[in-house]
């Protein structure tokens, strides 16, 4: 009998620079160390049945990741939480979790459609005013075209499809930005790309390489309502 759980987990400072693939593999290995009865796919290269909502870029930390895991037998939920906590590498912690139906339940990947980020952006001294003005111009723009480049090729997108506005709060050495990014079946934009757009198109006086990005939430959004994937 197979049992599925959905868990909230983190990607903390210690693993900020770990890639999504490596992050997943580290969790798989931790699960194997717990000796929990994880379910595997069939075939020559059996894979543990673990699924995530949306990939995080290298360098991006997260306070709100989610994973679904399938187990082949019933386990005591509290014992499962403890077992995972004892084996996960530093920076990966389990938060709230609950059992979900083993079949017919929407996959994380399919339902999560909004990601929230906090970005710490150092600025050269005395440029905070200019920076806030640049962000204001971005917020006021109706359309912001941007050429997204990846190894597969180039694609022109409208940044505003994904990010309506960027909220900026001055902090000691620069700004703290809050950004909500829509995740659509046809694509999305990375927070680092949003910073690049702000620098290149709106004259934000910052070095995009210095931005420190943390995902603060992943949601199932509908209009103005936002619910956690654990609450659907």
């Amino acid at each position: 009998m197979s049992v599925k759980y959905r868990l909230a987990i983190t990607k903390g400072e210690a693993v900020r620079y770990v890639s999504h693939l490596d992050y997943m593999r580290s969790i798989e290995r931790a699960v194997r160390r717990t000796k929990l009865p994880a379910a595997y796919s069939e075939g020559f290269n059996p894979h543990m049945k673990i699924a995530f909502a949306s990939a995080l870029s290298v360098g991006v930390a997260s306070e709100a990741e989610y994973m679904d895991i399938e187990l082949t037998g019933d386990v005591d939920p509290a014992a499962m939480g403890e077992a995972l906590a004892s084996q996960l590498p530093p920076g990966i912690a389990v938060g709230r979790f609950r059992q979900i139906p083993a079949t017919g339940y929407p996959a994380l990947m399919a339902v999560v459609n909004l990601a929230a980020y906090r970005i710490r952006l150092p600025l050269p001294a005395g440029t905070a005013g200019d920076a806030i003005e640049a962000i204001g111009r971005f917020n006021a723009a109706a359309v912001v075209t941007y050429i997204k480049e990846n190894p597969k090729g180039k694609k022109e997108i409208d940044v505003k499809t994904y990010v309506r506005e960027v909220a900026a709060t001055p902090v000691a050495d620069g700004l703290e930005l809050a950004v909500e990014v829509r995740i659509t079946p046809t694509g999305s934009i990375k927070p680092t790309e949003v910073i690049k757009v702000l620098v290149e198109k709106f004259g934000l006086p910052a070095d995009p390489d210095t931005a420190l990005v943390t995902r603060t939430g992943l949601f199932v959004a509908d209009g103005n309502s936002r619910i956690s994937p654990l609450d659907i």
Binding site: V15, S26, R29, R32, P46
Partner: protein, 617 residues
């Protein structure tokens, strides 16, 4: 403690190479230990993290309450540039302290083309490159590994070398460092080196002088210090059951080269291939008991969560209880999704049966190493396999469902003629024919990989003059014209690389200046084709006034003093000479484990015995 700015980490490739925090890494309080070791691998993280020897050292040192071992790898050139620009010194992945603050920095020497990375790492650590320029505040720079058996090209840079197996030697070194520090460092660095020189297996190059003849050959390497023995002999662990095995290895986040459990079945090899340096350096064969291996495997699975166990050794098919151990490992782990793999296979159908057995869990490729294209040349190198062995093995593999095999060969072997080169193509063709005979159709995927022979110290071929680069390239081209069949893919190694390996493998102390000159001109990561620049090495040889052909291409006479004659692997030079003569007569020597003792001198001289559990039960 060093903090790397986010901007740096966001600009470099694979930043997880530099951020630490891996599961099972051991972080100790530096103030609580007497001997702090920085274990340095002179190549990138993914290569260094795959190395079993460093895992063993890390485990054994960290087991001691008075010592700590931390890890450091060569930063990739993008990271090096960032570190230099930001003034970040080389540091470890555990405590993020500068390497220059450690008591000992230990390098492992796996291949000659990593030498410039050692200089580069010392420089990045702010440590003077030459031993003679280091002061009392600097760490002791030590080195071990196969290349330490000809330590001379690195003699100027390394304070002392440790020859042979490290399990017991490193405890001796750690204890010596701790004692010396607790005693108030009597005699300073030189005082410590005198203590170190008394430890068996330790070679302190500064305690030896090299003298040369008028023709440039070596006259003698003589001890100049009372603590230095005339010949330094390797360390050997008499019984592997008695030493610790790293069952809690550091688990990387990044995918590394050998990203799996490495279970070492045994050490040594008694087949006696005459080109093989490892076969001499790790003699004699000492097996672990099957029960021990099963216990170690369980601990490793429990502590890592890896899904694959690789059975490692120089020749895993020679493990006397192989069938037994493979079956038992599969049984023990099949329900946990853990597979078993055999990385090195001998050419016989027994191996194929076993390969088939392990395929029950996972499918992987098959590799065979006939090494030479004709039986005559295989007899010269004492490879001990026949064309019939290969035919049977390949036939069995095709019948078992494999459709592709990799074949490894060398060119430039002693006595080689063009007929031997043509034999390589003929053998590959024979393999495609066998596929057609077995399957009734074409379509075998045969890949032939050809490296150039590099004569190595402490082998029967140590006297042999390497083919020059033009000759190696001619042979590569000849071979290329012989592969017309599209089912055979052919690749070869750069002859310049093999040439440089030969120079440093058999070099003497005069090569230290060449290394320095090459490093100053920017040589690093020479083992990586994208960074290897031969022109720069040519310039370095010119600058140092050293003729590389003197080292690579010159046939040595039997009476010549070799730069490694004062360093012993326990195998007699007379045995090597005898083997070289037999090679030239294409006369085979039997495996000493099951046939007659070939009197290489290692068991007798080192007081160790072959341990073979299959033979004893």
């Amino acid at each position: 403690m060093i903090t790397i700015p986010p901007a740096v980490l966001s600009r470099v490739a694979k930043p997880a190479r530099y951020t630490g925090h891996e599961h099972n890494s051991v972080v100790k309080d530096p103030a609580g230990v007497d001997a702090a070791f920085a274990l340095a691998f002179p190549d990138v993280y993914e290569v260094g993290m795959s190395h079993l020897g460093l895992k063993i050292l890390y485990h054994i040192i960290n087991r001691r309450p008075d010592a700590a071992a931390e890890r450091v790898y060569a930063p990739w050139p993008d990271m090096e540039a960032e570190m230099r620009a930001a003034g970040i010194p080389l540091h470890t992945l555990e405590s993020f302290r500068p390497v220059g603050e450690f008591d000992v920095v230990g390098f492992t020497l796996q291949y000659e083309l990593s030498y410039t990375n050692i200089l580069n790492m010392l420089d990045l650590a702010g440590i003077p490159l030459k031993s003679a320029d280091r002061g009392e505040g600097h760490p002791l720079i030590i080195a071990g590994g196969p290349c330490a058996f000809n330590a001379e090209p690195l003699a100027d840079f390394i304070d002392f070398f440790v020859l042979g197996e490290s399990e017991e030697a490193v405890d001796d070194v750690a204890a010596a460092v701790a004692d010396w520090k607790k005693a108030g460092k009597p005699g300073g660095r030189r005082g410590f080196l005198a203590r170190a020189a008394a430890i068996p297996g330790v070679y302190v190059p500064a305690f030896y002088d090299a003298a040369y003849n008028a023709d440039g050959t070596l006259a003698a390497v003589t001890a100049n210090h009372p603590a230095a023995p005339p010949v330094v002999t390797k360390r050997v662990v008499a019984d592997l059951e008695q030493v610790a095995y790293p069952t809690k290895p550091v688990l990387p986040f990044l995918e590394i080269i050998h990203d799996r459990i490495m279970l070492e079945l045994f050490r040594g090899c008694t087949r006696g291939c005459r080109f093989c340096q490892a076969g001499v350096l790790y003699r004699p064969v000492r097996e672990r008991k099957p029960e021990t291996l099963l216990r170690l495997a369980q601990e490793l699975v429990d502590n890592t969560g890896y899904s694959e166990i690789s059975l490692t050794s120089l020749s895993s098919a020679d493990y006397s209880c192989l069938k037994d151990i493979v079956g038992r490992l599969i049984d023990q782990f099949k329900d946990q999704g853990v597979s078993v793999s055999l990385p090195s296979l001998r050419i016989d159908s027994f191996s194929i049966e076993l390969a088939q057995e392990v395929q029950k869990v996972r499918k992987s490729g098959l590799t065979f190493a006939p090494e030479a294209g004709t039986q005559r040349l295989r007899d010269v190198i004492n490879k001990g396999v026949t064309e019939k062995d290969l035919e049977e093995a390949v036939g069995a593999a095709f019948r078992a469902g494999w459709s592709g095999v990799k074949l490894y060969f060398m060119i430039g072997l002693p006595t080689e003629t063009d007929d031997d080169i043509k034999g390589i193509a003929a053998l590959a063709r024979r393999v495609t024919d066998i596929y057609r005979e077995v399957k009734g159709k074409r379509g075998a995927k045969v890949s032939v990989s050809v490296s150039s022979f590099v004569p190595k110290p402490h082998t029967p071929f140590q006297w042999y003059g390497q083919n020059d680069m033009a000759e190696l390239e001619r042979k590569q081209q000849l071979l290329k014209t012989l592969f017309k069949d599209r089912s055979v893919s052919f690749s070869w190694h750069d002859a310049h690389v093999s040439f440089l390996e030969a120079v440093f493998a058999r070099g003497d102390r005069r090569l230290g200046e060449v290394l320095l000159a090459a490093w100053r001109q920017g040589a690093k990561f020479d083992g990586w084709s994208e960074y290897f620049k031969f022109a720069l090495w040519q310039e370095a040889f010119r600058e140092a006034g050293v003729d590389p052909h003197f080292y690579a291409g010159r046939e040595r006479t039997a009476d010549e003093v070799l730069p490694w004659d004062h360093l012993s692997a326990g195998v007699d030079k007379a045995f090597l000479e005898r083997e070289y003569r037999q090679a030239l007569d294409a006369a085979p020597t039997a495996d000493c484990r099951r046939g007659d003792c070939s009197v290489c001198g290692v068991c007798q001289g080192l007081g160790v015995d072959i341990i073979d559990w299959g033979a004893s039960s």
